[in-house]
Every structure is written in structure tokens, then in C-alpha cells.
Symmetry: D3
Subunit: 208 residues, 6 copies
């Protein structure tokens, strides 16, 4: 009697054909408001669900003595549509991830090495800052200005995980001083002194 059992997969096969538990991004397709089109299931392999790009240490030989290595949907297509992404933060002693926001996601920060000070500013201008050590986690609500810096004598590593496969990243200094946002508009809308604006634009390469 058991041999009839083999028929069961066939009976259900039409539903199987349509199942998509996941939607690995076809990055060559045109994305939409909810993400990229799905790679055909027949072409999906285990490789699509794994990303090794966060294993390597980011170079901190730069002025901020820090590096951000993203694993967003553009780097890790398996995340598409699943509401998660990550980034690795490497912060050398004295290094800092400058003030920034993620317009499209909240962030959970997990410190895995060293000592990290993290903080955010809320809409009512309350400031929440905390010194974190290995294994501690910090939640940074969506869209608010925040930063991370290393306060120890050795380098720090942390993973930032986001509630979107494409959280966005707006770095305050880059938005103001590495863009072509006109100096006149900057001073009008921030009350910074023109000299300050000029100085930081010359460092960061902004124009306008």
C-alpha cells in the first residue's frame, strides 16, 4: 500500500510550482517600491543565501579611522524582501562613524570586539549615549541621527543590523559638505558660519 504514497508529491505539485518562500534579488532587473524582481527559483542555489563580505576587516587607514562594510540587498541579493540587512563596523582606537541616519530602517548594534560608544538624538532633542562592551546590544530607532566611536585602546568591531534590506545611509557631513548643496543654502538652513562651511567643503570636496 505504501507505494501509493509516491503519488502525493504529484498531487501537490501544482502548488509547489508557485511557492516562493524567498525572492532572491535579480539585480539586473528593475527594482520597485518593495524591492527587486525575484531570480527564477530554478537558478537559486545555497550561494544566494550566504554572504562572506563581512568576514574581512575593513581598512581603517583613513581620517575617521573607521570603515563601514555593508551587506545590503545590492551586495547580498538573498535579503531581498525579507526585511533585514547588516553592516560591519571596524573602528580603530580613536575612530568614529560620523553622525548619520538610516532613512528606511531601525538599527540593532551588536558589539563583538572592543569598546564602542554609541548614541542617538531623539525628535524631542533628548540624547541617549551609552558605552558598550563586547556582547552588548543597542537599538537605534528609525531615521534618527546617531553615531558610533571606539573609546578603547584596541580596535572595535560591531555588526549593525537593519529592519530593511535597503536601509539607506545619509551621513550628515557628506550631505552638507561633500555634495553640491550651495553654501548659501547651507548657511541659511543650518546657521553655520560661512567660514565653517567653506572649510569643511574644502576637506570633503563639496561644491556649490
Amino acid at each position: 500500500m505504501l507505494h501509493i504514497f509516491f503519488l502525493l508529491p504529484l498531487l501537490l505539485s501544482t502548488s509547489h510550482a508557485s511557492v516562493n518562500d524567498f525572492c532572491v534579488a535579480d539585480l539586473k532587473g528593475q527594482d520597485g517600491p518593495s524591492g527587486y524582481p525575484c531570480k527564477p527559483p530554478s537558478k537559486v542555489t545555497t550561494h544566494d543565501f550566504v554572504y562572506a563580505g563581512l568576514a574581512a576587516e575593513g581598512s581603517t587607514s583613513n581620517i575617521i579611522s573607521a570603515a563601514v562594510t555593508p551587506a545590503f540587498v545590492a551586495q547580498f541579493p538573498g535579503l531581498n524582501g525579507l526585511g533585514l540587512s547588516a553592516a560591519r563596523l571596524d573602528i580603530a582606537p580613536g575612530g568614529v562613524i560620523p553622525l548619520h541616519t538610516h532613512p528606511g530602517a531601525s538599527e540593532l548594534l551588536i558589539v563583538t570586539e572592543g569598546l564602542v560608544t554609541a548614541g542617538f538624538i531623539a525628535s524631542d532633542n533628548s540624547v541617549y549615549v551609552k558605552k558598550l562592551s563586547k556582547g552588548q546590544v543597542f537599538i537605534l530607532p528609525q531615521g534618527l541621527l546617531h553615531f558610533q566611536l571606539s573609546y578603547g585602546k584596541s580596535k572595535a568591531v560591531a555588526y549593525a543590523v537593519f529592519s530593511s534590506s535597503n536601509p539607506g545611509l545619509q551621513i550628515l557631513d557628506f550631505a552638507l559638505f561633500a555634495s553640491n548643496f550651495s553654501s548659501s543654502l547651507i548657511t541659511q538652513t543650518t546657521f553655520l558660519d560661512p567660514e565653517q562651511v567653506k572649510k569643511l567643503k574644502s576637506v570633503l570636496g563639496g561644491s556649490g
Copy 2:
């Protein structure tokens, strides 16, 4: 030391490549349940975020003495995926926007000129009607029958804003009397008299 700073944008450039804070509709693409595919970021300009079509007064030389000018995603592609759209209402004295629903959005009505009576009927058949003057706002919950009319001696202008980039618009009279919904089905499902149905179909062009 500052010159090293120039490296930072490069370090982060992979994430920048994938950022899409917005998804301007490519109206030639095939839409899906969450909207249209995104125009490539490299082709997006300021023009995509601006719409001038609501600046002009709509003609009220018609039997309802009113006009609705939409700025939905089909007219204003920058709205795609952002959960907002708008329409301009021009209502001459005595004019009326007939009873209608938006199947996919709630509406916030902002009166900017003249005097407007607006109202909606809730599922429990409660009726909420209010006379509004300039600067007053009225919220009309999703999917419920509502109307707007001018009750003053001069024309009225209002902006209706919606919680979807494509709210839909079902005008009761058009659904019944400008469609090919058969007169027999109309009388069966509304209890209107056949003469009434025939009369309004002849005015609005319905068939069936």
C-alpha cells in the same frame, strides 16, 4: 592628514550604489501590487519630484459646477511607493463633488479658498457632515462614501490628500448610471425604481 578623508566616499561607495530613498515611477514599466518599477537613479532629476498640474484652476463649466484635478502616481511619478497623493478640487457656487469612495486610501481635505460642506457616512450609517472654511481640515476614513460641495457665494478650492499614491476613485453615480451595469441588476441590488435608473442612465450615458 585631512587628505585621507577623500577616501571615505570611496569606502562607502558600494552602499551608495544600492541606495534608493525613493522610487520614481517608470510609467512605461509594468506595475505591480506595490507600484511601478523605479526609474534608474541616474535619470532622476529635480523635475521628478515636482508637479505643477494642480496650480491651474479646473474648469467648473459643467453640470456639477466642479472639477477634480488628480496628482496621483500616473500624473506625478515621484509619488510612487511613498504612500501619498493629492487632488485639487474646484467648486463653483452651488457646485458639488458627487458621492464617491476611494477604495485604497483615507483622505485629508484642506480648504484653501471659499466655503465647503464635506461629509461621510460610516459603516454603521452614522453621518458626519461639517461646514468648513479656509484653513480647516477634515479627515475622511478609507473606503467610505463621502462628498464635498460649495455652500458660499464664491468659488471654493480645496486640496484632498490621500494615504496612497494611487487611492482609486469610485463615483457612485458613474458606477451605477455611466457603466454597463444592467438596469435589471441595478434595481435588484439598490431597490431604485426602474424609471429612476432609466432617467439617470440617459443623462450619464449608461447602457445595459
Copy 3:
């Protein structure tokens, strides 16, 4: 004066052009996280909103004495984007729909013929089992293991309705014993005896 009324449809025609109250799946298009692209409205007919595939009784001449006939988006494209789908369950006396989950939806079970025992196990390992007769409904929360079986002397029919147009279906026995999940990993991750695994794999056709 009434003749001017004919102008109203024209005034509103631009918004009508963009309305999509529905998004019938173009199954030849590439799906995305929110579903399939929409069939052009001009090609949509009444046929797209109707599905007759659940009218016929599924064959229960198999070892489980039961059949599941799906009306998911792949079978019924009109469901695309609307958050609903269905399946017909035919269960002969003594038949059983084996333990399974729907990763992407909750299920409402409606018994329309015969007697059905249904049950689910919650995350805290509480078990909820109920004997249902014609007309009774049972709600099975998303993602939890559940089953249905016939406990009467005549066949049972039920409709399962889902909160997604593509709920997914993971049948426990198939996942373990009809797949190429290695026997070694199965015993390690389930504590089942190797003989048990071997026996069921031979019945269900699993490898590895």
C-alpha cells in the same frame, strides 16, 4: 443643462487611466517581493476574477486518503496583491492532511461536509485540537504546525483560506523524508533514530 453632464467623465478621465483597484497577475512576468506584475487593465476580463478549480473533488485514492487542491496566485491570478487565497481539502474516512505549516499566512478552515479534526501546536508547545462539523470554522495562526483529518464515516470537505495570495506549504514529512536532507543531519537535528529515518525515506523517496 443636463447635456453638459457628459463632460464629467472626460474631466476625470486622466485619473481613471491610472486607477488600479486590482492587479491581476501576469504569470509570465517576473515576480517580486509583493507579487507578480499586473496584467494590463485593458486585457482583464471577468474570467480573471473567477476560479473553478476548487469545484471538482480531489482524488483521495492515495495513502493519505486525502487531497489538497490549491487556489493560490499561480492557479488563480486574480488574487495577486489582495492578501487572500484558498485551498480545497478532500479527506476520505480515515484520511489525513499530514503535519505542515504555511510560512507566509494564517489559515481559516471552513468545514462544508463531514467531520474534521483539526489542530495546531503553538510556540509554547500548547496543543489546540478540535473536532469540527459542517459550518464550523477554525483559525490556525501563521507559521505553526497543524493538521486536518477526517474522523467520520463519510468523506469530509473543507476550504482553507489564507491571509496571503501565496501562503507557502511546508509538509513536515516531505521536508524531512522526501528531500535530499542528509540522514545524518536529520538524526542530529531531530533525534529520530536512523532506522526510522531510513524507513520513511524509502517510502517517501528521500535521498542523502
Copy 4:
């Protein structure tokens, strides 16, 4: 060694305490935009996931020769937060469920007995009408005017399933003629004749 296994549930018990796979409505609590507060898990029983109120035939001894029996969250608290609800339709020969909308949900209609004509009108005034027999299903997109009627010689039964635990129900005739929506506003916003309005108000009990 196996005895140590008993420790595992303890290790995980903190997470179990917080699990809520479901949120059975505490109907005495104050609801919010996403539904009712949850009944404490310790008080939840199998009974909460079952509803028997759709098993009994609704009385069709009324002018529409039809009955709608709802299983929304207010009747069936187990649905709370799960995005599903149902209603039973009993339609005697010649009976009709008058034109109505569900402001908050799409509807899947499953005919289980008799012959049912169902139809809806889209935003572009297209009309989709279909004669359905037992086992056929029809999808009615959110917020659009639709109806069901029996076209056979024997009574019809159908289950309407919704994509919300609280879909709402606005019956056109009741909104207009059983409410206190003033006759003057009705004629202004629908173009119905005053006599027609007066006649239906007298039947349905409307005032104003």
C-alpha cells in the same frame, strides 16, 4: 546522558514566556488601529480558535430573502490580528445581498450550495458579473461596490472570506436611506429624484 535533555526547556523558558503566535481579542479591552488587546495566553483555550456561529442557516424571511451572518473579530475573537474573517451568506431563490462595499478588505467568495450571481464595479466603471455554481470562487477587490444574488430555484449558500479581521460593511441603501443623511444632501450628491429618496427612506426608516 539523555536525562540532561530535560534542562533544555528551562534554558529556553524565558523566550517562551514572551511568545505570542496569536493575540486572541480581549473584547473588553480598548481596541486600537491594529485591533484589540490580547487575552492573556494563560486564559486562552481551544474554544478561542473555533466559531460555530456560521453553522446555522440564517433566516431569509425578510424582504431581501437573504441573510448575512458575520464571523468578524467581534464575534470570533481568535481572528484578532491575523488578517482574516468570514461571513456566511444564505440567499433564498430570488434573494439578493444589496450593493455594498467593505472599506477595509478584499473578499473571496466561495459558493457551497446553489447558484449565485456575483458582481463588482471597478473604479473605471467596468462591470464584472459572473454566474457561479457550487465550488466556484470569485475575488472581489477591496473597497469596490459589489453584490450577490441567487439565480437558481433552490436556496444558495456561500462563504465570504475577508483579508482583515474587521473588514467593515457599508450597504449602499442603508447608508443613503436608513441613515439621517438629509434628503437635500442626497439629491445634491446623487442626482436621485426627491420622490425616489422619500420613497426609499420611508421603507428603510431614514430621516433628515
Copy 5:
């Protein structure tokens, strides 16, 4: 026969009891992730759906020569759960709404009087700036830095409408210089000069 019709409302009354097309905020209740608890339907009046607070001109006798008057859920409880809110902007000649973000919503800006320059900076540091006149609308995607200023000789008025009933508002200068964000952390995370920070803190009242 028509008298039987009166029974219909009774037949359906159980469903009516549970309908909530809207959820007017009970601001004295405890809010949750999706908003405030609902005011009992029996206590809801037309007044709950209307807000007059945007009708009055905001005072621009301040250093920014501008005023923002919000109609968020805290001011206008009828918005609760409906995904919409608004604010009135009054900008005197030369006035400016300083650089800010809304962490939880996109914004549609409608100019109703005067001339307004509005702009935002995207995650890739592209700058989108536009001079707008009466009736023009501008869409500002969620979470990005943006500003509005008057560029004409007379005062400007605009309505900002948001895709959330509680969009949040983080003003850059206030977050940095009106808070207790320590000057040391500001200079570390923004590269602004200490003198600049000190100067703006003294103006805006910041400490730390």
C-alpha cells in the same frame, strides 16, 4: 411586504456593533506601536474629524521668520491609524524652516501662497532644490534632510502633508545645539570646529 424590510438592520446588527472604520485617538489612553487606543464609537462626533488649528496664521516674529503649526495625531485625534497628518508653514520674506527630517514619514508640500524654495538631499548626496509658486507640489521622500524658505517679497504659506499620523520632526540645529549632546561628541562626530559649536549652543541653549 415592504414592512419586513425593517428587519434587515436587525439581522445585520451584530456586525455593525463591531465595525470600526476609524479609530479616533483616546489621547488619555496609552499609545502603542500602531497608535493610540480608540475612543468608544458612541462618543465620537463630527468634531473629532475636523481640525481648525491650521486656519490661523502662525507668528513669524522670531529669528527664522517662520512658523510650523502641526496637525499631528496629538493635535487632531481623528487622524489616528489613518496614515495621514499635516502641518501649516508660514514663512515671512527671508524666513526659513531650517534643515530637518521626519523619521517616520514622507512629505508632500503644497504651496498655497507666495514663493517657496524647497529642497532635499538624498543618500547619495544628490541635492534636489526647486523654486515653487502657488499650487505647485513637491514630494520629499521619508527620512531625508530637507528645508523650505521664502524667496519672494511677500509671505508664503504652504501645507506639508505626511504619510503617517505621527511623522516625527528632527531639526538638525536643535538636535545638535539645543540639546545636551556634549560639545566633545559633536566635534568628534561632525568635524565642526569647537568655536562654531560653542557659538550655536549659546544661541540655541544647548548644554553639555
Copy 6:
């Protein structure tokens, strides 16, 4: 002139009063479908956004030689409503996290120490298994059966991050053999031999 600037905070204070960028769970309140009610903003401190419970190694002195330490909303109230949570996995050599699902979330697995084999089974019974080393990440789509085990000679540590503040956790063996799911129903719905069921129930403490 600058002194007038102090007025700006006052002008905007009404909106500030209503801002809630976050909703720290009041765990003593009654939860609902979208989470717990919010702790009053005035009582929120930095402490609410930090969780130290994942810093300590979980004890692996048990039969699975592994431990799961959750940081879900019940342990870490700051996560409420933000769509994120985490768990720490400690796996001794030879240890295993048995086959399980998260009914309400996808999981991103980040290996931070040692060597981990992780895998999941899709709805079409495809098996995706991968050996991961430090720094590699693996995405496990919502609701699918998956496992993690250590394959190296030293212990492994990984962080699992979830797309919900309350992802749920259903461990297959516990659902079947540590519950009161009757042995008769288990054999009927899984085809496991009664002896196998009896054996594992005796180990895991199940009844029924």
C-alpha cells in the same frame, strides 16, 4: 536679534509633545497585535535601549551542547515596534540547535566565533546547507524549518537577528515530543512509528 531665536523651541513645542520616535514596551501593559503599549516618554532612559543579556556565554552543559539566549521584546523592551530582535547561540563542539521555525520572522545569522553548519528546507523540499566560518552571514527565510550546529573542534558563537521584535520559536521535537500532543495523532500526522514517538516522549517529557 539672536535672542528671539529662543522662541523657536516654544513655537514647536506642541509637536514635540506628541513625538514618539520609539515605543519602549511597558511589559506590564496588555499587548496587542502590533506589540506592547509604550512606556511614557518621560520615564524612558538610555537603559531602555541597551541590553547586556547577550554578553554572557550560555551554558552548553546539556544534551544538545548548545544554548539559545534570546533578546526578544520580553527581554529587551526597547525593541517594541521596531521590527528587530536577536538571540545569541552558543554551540559547543558537536552541539546542535535542533530543527525549528520562527513563525513570525526571517533570520539573519552572523557567525562570530568558531565554525557553524546552518541549513534550511524550503517549501519545495529543496535543502540549503552551508558551512560557515567567522564573519559569514546566512539568511533564513521566514517560517521555514532550519538548524544550526557546530562542526569545529572549538565552541561556536553566532548571533541570530530577526525581522520582528517577537519572532516566535517552534522547536520541532518539543512541539511533537515535549507537548501533550497525543501519540495517536502524532503517528497519524507524521507516519512516525509508535515506538519512536514513545521513546522521544519519554526523553522529552511529552504526554498524551
